[in-house]
Symmetry: D2
Subunit: 378 residues, 4 copies
C-alpha cells in the first residue's frame, strides 16, 4: 500500500534559476512528493510571480521570504502543511535557511555544497543531530543506477583493494566572462559562492562521487587551482592530487573553462583485481575491466546488475534514463526514509561536511603552492 | 502566465503493466497535467487496488470500467472533471475506448498502434473529425529533441532530396517463450494485439519514426516476417524493403528475438548532399555527415541546434535526457495545444492510420511471399 | 626456423590504382613475401614507370603484359622466379589472368569478385582443381582477428542456432558522378565491372563476411537494387532479404551513395542464446550479447579470445591494428599454406564462386521486381 | 621518381622482444627501407638465431655485438652497407649504442626514452650536433594522422591560447609481479630502465604527445609517483601537475597497474576558443569542440583535414589505420629526410632531451613530496 504524497516547499528557484524546476521535476517524478509552497526569491514580488508562473502555486503559498514561510506553514493543519523544505539558493544561504527549517521542525533537502565553510557546516550538523529530523544533500549523481552498481561492486571486494582513482568534471560554460548570466554571477562571487568557484560547484560533485563509489576517505590533497578568465575572483579550473585511506592515490580535475564540454563527468577506479569506468554521457553503462577476460558492460536494468541498482531504475533496459531520473532517485530514497520504508542511500550531512573539508583543503593547498594539506577525517 | 494544470484519467495501466506508470510520469513531468482518475483494469477490484496503490488516487476515482468513468466524470463539476483520457490498454481496446471517450466529450491520448486494422482506424478518424476534440498517439520517440532536430534538418533541404532511409528496432526479450509475462502474453495474442506481433508493437514505431523524420510517404512494401519461437501465433521478427514517395528506397527491420538487445532503435537517412544517423542508446546526439567536411554531432540543448529541438529540452546540454523526457514531450505539446498555446508537433490520428496501413501491408506482403504491396496514401 | 621469403608478381596496380600498394604492403608486412615483378598496366610504358616509381623494381622485371611476365618468369632460375601472382586488375581480367597464371604454374592471389559471371568462375575452379596450385581471394575483411573470433564463437555453438543475420556496407564516394576518378570509372562500367556495380564491389564483401562468420549458406535472395546517380549503368545502392540454410533470415545492404559514410561495414548475428556485433570502425572489438548477463567486449589480443584470433594479431592489445593488418592476414595464411605450415583459413575459390552466385541472384531478383531467386548451393 | 630503398641494421630486438618486429614492420611498410643486418642480442648465439629465425637474414649479417656490426658494415661496399641503425635495446644501452653508431658514421633511429639521465642525453646531443648525421626518436604516437592534425589545429590558433591540457596513458599489464616476462624485468630494473619505471616507459610518451600537440613547454612539475606492487624498485603509477609556458596548466597521468586497461592513451586540450580530444582506441578520429556550434569529428583521410595529416594516411578514410601505420610514419619521414625530400616532422633528439628532463624532474618532485620542480627549458 502506497503512503501518502509528501508535501514540500522550496526556498530559491525563482525566475532565472535553472535548478529549481529540476528539483520540482525530480521530487515529483515518482509520485512520492509534490511542491505546495515556496519562497522563490528574495524579492517578494518575484517570489509571487515565480511561484504562480513557474510552479502554478496559489498566491497564498508563494511567500515573501523563508522565515515567513516556515512560520505560516507551521500554522497550517497537519494535512496541508509542508513536510520538508528544498533549499536551492546560492550557497551562502544554505545553512541559514536549513537552520531555520530545522528549528521550525521541517526536514531538509539542500543543494550542494552544504555550507560556506567547515565551521558553518559543523554547526548545522550539530543542530541536525539534536533534532529528529532528516537531511539530504542533493549530490544527485549518486542517484544514477550504474553509480550505485559501481559502489556495490567495489564494496563487494571483487575488484580487490582500490589503488588508483580519478574523477573529472569538465564544463566550458564559464570560458568567457558571463556577465549576463544570473547563474554565472553568483557562482563567481565569493560572498555568495564561498571560497571556491569551480571546485565549490562541481569539484565538490567529483569529490562526492569518488568518495561514494570508492568508499575511501581522502586524507590529503595537493591542489593547483587556476583562474583563467581575467577579473574573476574565484577559481574556474583546477587539478588535485589525492592520497586516500588505504594507500590509494588519485586525482580530481574540474574545469569550467574546458571550451565545448557540456557536463563531462567521468569516474575511473582500479583495484588489485579489476577496474571500472563510468561517464555521464553514457550514464546507463558501467564498464568493468578484468585482467584475464573480456571487459563487460553492465547496463541499467539489465540482468547481471545488483538489487540496489535495479531498484534505482524505472523502465526497461535500453530506454535511457538520465539526469532527472538520477536526481529523482535522491528524492525517492529520502521520501521512503521519511515514511520509514526501506530505501537506498542518499547523500547525508556527513557527505556535506566532507565536501566542505575537501573544498577548504583544496583552497588552502593551492594557496600554499600545492603543499599537501590533510583533511580532518572523523 | 501559466495555464492551469490539466486533469486526466487513465484506461489500463493496472498492476503488471509497465507502460501505465511511464505515461503517468511523462504526463506529469512538466507540470502541465495530473492524473485524477482511472479505470486501470478490467477487473473492478484490481482497478481499485491499482489506482490506490500505484497511483495514490482516492477510491472514488478508481472506476470499475471506462464507460462508468466517462459517465461519472461527465457528471463532475468542470473544475474537477478530467480533461482528457489516456488509453494504455492492449491494442484491441484502443478504438472502443477512444470512441467512447470522444462521444463523452473527452480529448484522447492513445497508445500505439492506433487500431486492430485500417477500417477500425478510419472509423475513429471520422468520429474525431466530426468532433472538436484533440487526439494524440504516443509514438513517443518523436519527442526526442534530436529526432525533431533531424526532421527539421531534412525539411530544410540541407541534405538534398532523400535517397536512402533505414530504421531498425531490435529487442531480445521474446527470444524464448515468455509464458509468465503479462506483457508478452497479450502482445503475442492475435485477439488482443492484432494481425502483427513484433511489427504491430515496434515495427510500427520504426515506421513512424522514419516517416516523421523523412517527411516521405511509404508507397509500397516487400516484407518478410518470421516467427522463430515455436507455438507463437504472430511474427517476432521481420525485414521490409521500402519504396517511398520521391523515389527513395530503404528498409525497416524489427525483431524481438535479437538476443541481448535492449531497445536498439536506430535511424539513418542519406540525401543527395548529406546524411544523418541517430540511435536511442545515445539519444542526445545526432550525427550529421557531409561529403566535403568532418561530420558533426549535434547535441540536445547545445548551440547549433534548431529552435524546435531546443524547445524540447529541459536541462543544460550534457545532462542526459532520456525516454521519459521524450515521452513527456508528447504530453507537453498536447497540453499546450489544448490550452491553445504554441506547441510542437505530436503524432496525430493520421500517423496512426498510416501505421495501421503499414502493418496491414507488411502482413499481406509477407503472406504473399514478399510480393510488393502498395499502401493507400491519401 | 623461418622459411624463405616467397616472391610474387603483380598484375594491375599501376599509377592511379589504390589497391595495388595496399596488396604490396599487406603481402610484405609479415616478412613472408616480397614483390619482385609486375605487369602493372595495359600500357607497357605505364607498366614500366609504375613498377619503377611506385614499387622500386628493376626495369627488367616490369613487364609490358601478363603473358610476357608469366613466360619470362618461368624462364628464370628457381631461386629468382616469382612464386605467385597477385591479380588486382578490374574485374573482367581476373579470370583470364588467373587462367594464364595457373597454366604457367603460378599460384594465384586474386582480388574480388572472382569473375564476371558464374560460368567464368566455374571454368576457373575446374582449372584450379586440375592443378596442384593454390588460390586465395582477397576478401580481406575475414582477416580481422575479431571476425575470426566471431566465426569461432558461432561455430562453437555458444550462441545457439543462428536465427537473424545482417550485414551492411555503406560508402558515399559515388554519391555524385565521379567522372575524373579512374576507380569510379571502371567500377561503374558493365564491361569491366560485370553485371553489378555496388553489389559486385562491396555487396560481395558483405555476402562473404556474413557467410564466413555465420557458416550458413544463403539459399535465396529478394533484392531491390537502385541506381540513384543519373546516367550510371549499374546499381549504386541496394537492399536484399535473405533466406539461409537452417531457417535463418536476414538482410544485406550496400550503398555507394550513403553520403558522408566512409567504409561503414557492420555485421550482426543473433542466435537462440546469444548475439554478436562487429563494426569496421571499431575493428578490434567484438560485442557479444547474452540474455542473462552484461554484454562483453572481446578485444583483439586480449585474454578471453580464442587461439585463432590471437594468431591473427601482431601487437599487444590496445595498440590498434587496422585494415592493412587484416589484409596482411590473408597473405600470411596463404604463404604459410604454400610453405606447408599450419595456417588460418583464407578465402578460397569456393568463396568466390559463392560470391558470383550471390551477385547473379541479386541482379536477377531485382530485375524481376524482387522475386525470390534461389542460389545454387553445392 | 622513387629513391632507392635505404638499408638498416637493428641493435636489440632478439627473441622475446616485442618491439623489434614492430620496428621492422614499421620501417618497411612504405617500402622506403629494409632490414639488412643486426646485433639482436647480447648473446652472440641468440643474436644469430634471432636474425635468421625472426628476420630471415643471412648468417653473415647477424652480428655478435653492435661494435662488430658497425665495424664490419663500414667495411662493406657503399651499395650494400647499412644506412642507419635502429636501437631497440633496454634504455641503458640507447646512448652507448647511439654514440658508437654516430662515430661509425651511421644515422640513428632510437627507441625512447633517449637516455638514462639528462647528462647522458646532453652528451649524445653534442656528438650528434658535431656530426652531419640524422637522428630520430620513436615517439611513435606522433605519427598518427589525427595527432598531426591536432598539432596543426593548435598551431593555427583556431583554438585560441591553450589554457588546459591533459594526457593520460593507462595500462594494466604490470598490476601484478610479472616475474616471467622479459619485458617486465628490464622495465622494472633501475639498472636497465633508469630512474623511472612507468614514467620512463609511458609517462615519457604522454609528455611527448602533449608537448608535440600543444607546442608548449612544460616549465614545472609537481609529481606523485607510486609503487603499488610490493618489491618493485620503480614507480608503476603516477600523477603529475603541470605548469606550462604561456600560463597553461594541466596534468599527466600514467599507470601500469590500471587493471584491465590495454594501452589507453588519451589527450585533451582546451584553448580560449575551442578544444580537442583524441584517444588511441579511436585513433582515426579527432574530436574538435566549439562553444557555439556542434562538435566536429575529423577523420583520417577525410575532407576537412589538413595537408600534413592527409600525407600521413595511406588508405581511404574508414579503412582504419593503426599503431603500425603510425609507427611507420616516423620511419617514412626519417627516410624522406635522409633522401633530402620533403617530409613530415619526426621526434628529434631535442624531444628526447626534453623527455629526460621531464623524467628527472618528475622523479625529483615525487622524492620531495610533490614540491614543484622546474625544468630547464632551453
Amino acid at each position: 500500500m502506497q503512503k501518502r504524497k509528501l508535501r514540500f516547499g522550496m526556498v530559491g528557484g525563482g525566475q532565472g534559476a535553472f535548478i529549481g524546476p529540476v528539483h520540482r521535476m525530480a521530487a515529483e517524478l515518482d509520485g512520492h512528493a509534490e511542491l505546495v509552497c515556496g519562497a522563490f526569491a528574495s524579492d517578494p514580488q518575484r517570489s509571487q510571480s515565480s511561484g504562480q508562473d513557474i510552479y502554478r502555486l496559489p498566491a497564498q503559498r508563494c511567500y515573501p521570504g523563508y522565515e515567513v514561510m516556515f512560520k505560516q506553514e507551521q500554522a497550517l493543519p497537519a494535512d496541508e502543511r509542508m513536510d520538508f523544505v528544498v533549499i536551492v539558493t546560492p550557497n551562502h544561504l544554505h545553512v541559514p535557511v536549513a537552520q531555520a527549517a530545522l528549528q521550525a521542525g521541517f526536514h531538509v533537502v539542500c543543494d550542494k555544497p552544504l555550507a560556506m565553510h567547515v565551521d558553518e557546516a559543523l554547526q548545522l550538523a550539530e543542530l541536525l543531530q539534536a533534532s529528529e529530523l532528516r537531511f539530504a544533500l542533493t549530490h544527485n549523481y549518486t542517484g544514477y543506477p550504474m553509480i550505485r552498481e559501481a559502489r556495490d561492486l567495489v564494496a563487494s571486494g571483487a575488484l580487490g583493494a582500490i589503488r588508483r582513482v580519478s574523477c573529472s568534471y569538465l564544463q566550458g560554460w564559464l570560458a568567457q566572462e558571463a556577465a549576463d548570466s544570473k547563474q554565472a554571477q553568483w557562482r563567481t562571487d565569493p560572498a555568495r559562492a564561498g571560497s571556491a568557484g569551480c571546485f565549490g560547484d562541481i569539484g565538490s560533485h567529483a569529490e562526492n562521487l569518488l568518495s561514494f563509489v570508492s568508499g575511501l576517505a581522502i586524507e590529503a590533497v595537493c591542489a593547483d587551482l587556476s583562474t583563467f578568465v581575467p577579473g574573476r575572483a574565484l577559481d574556474d579550473d583546477g587539478n588535485v592530487l589525492l592520497r586516500l585511506s588505504n594507500g590509494a592515490r588519485g586525482t580530481i580535475s574540474a574545469s569550467q573553462i574546458a571550451v565545448g564540454k557540456e557536463n563531462d563527468l567521468t569516474l575511473q577506479l582500479y583495484g588489485e583485481r579489476g577496474g571500472l569506468e563510468w561517464r555521464q554521457s553514457d550514464a546507463n553503462s558501467l564498464i568493468v575491466r578484468w585482467p584475464d577476460k573480456p571487459y563487460e558492460v553492465r547496463r541499467s536494468g539489465w540482468p547481471g546488475t545488483g538489487e540496489r541498482s535495479q531498484a534505482a531504475t524505472r523502465i526497461p533496459a535500453g530506454h535511457p534514463e538520465g539526469y532527472i531520473e538520477a536526481f529523482a532517485q535522491i528524492y525517492r530514497d529520502f521520501c521512503l526514509h521519511l515514511h520509514g520504508l526501506p530505501h537506498g542511500e542518499y547523500p547525508s550531512i556527513e557527505a556535506g561536511l566532507r565536501g566542505n573539508r575537501f573544498i577548504e583543503a583544496v583552497v588552502q593547498s593551492s594557496a600554499q603552492d600545492c603543499a599537501w594539506v590533510k583533511l580532518d577525517v572523523n
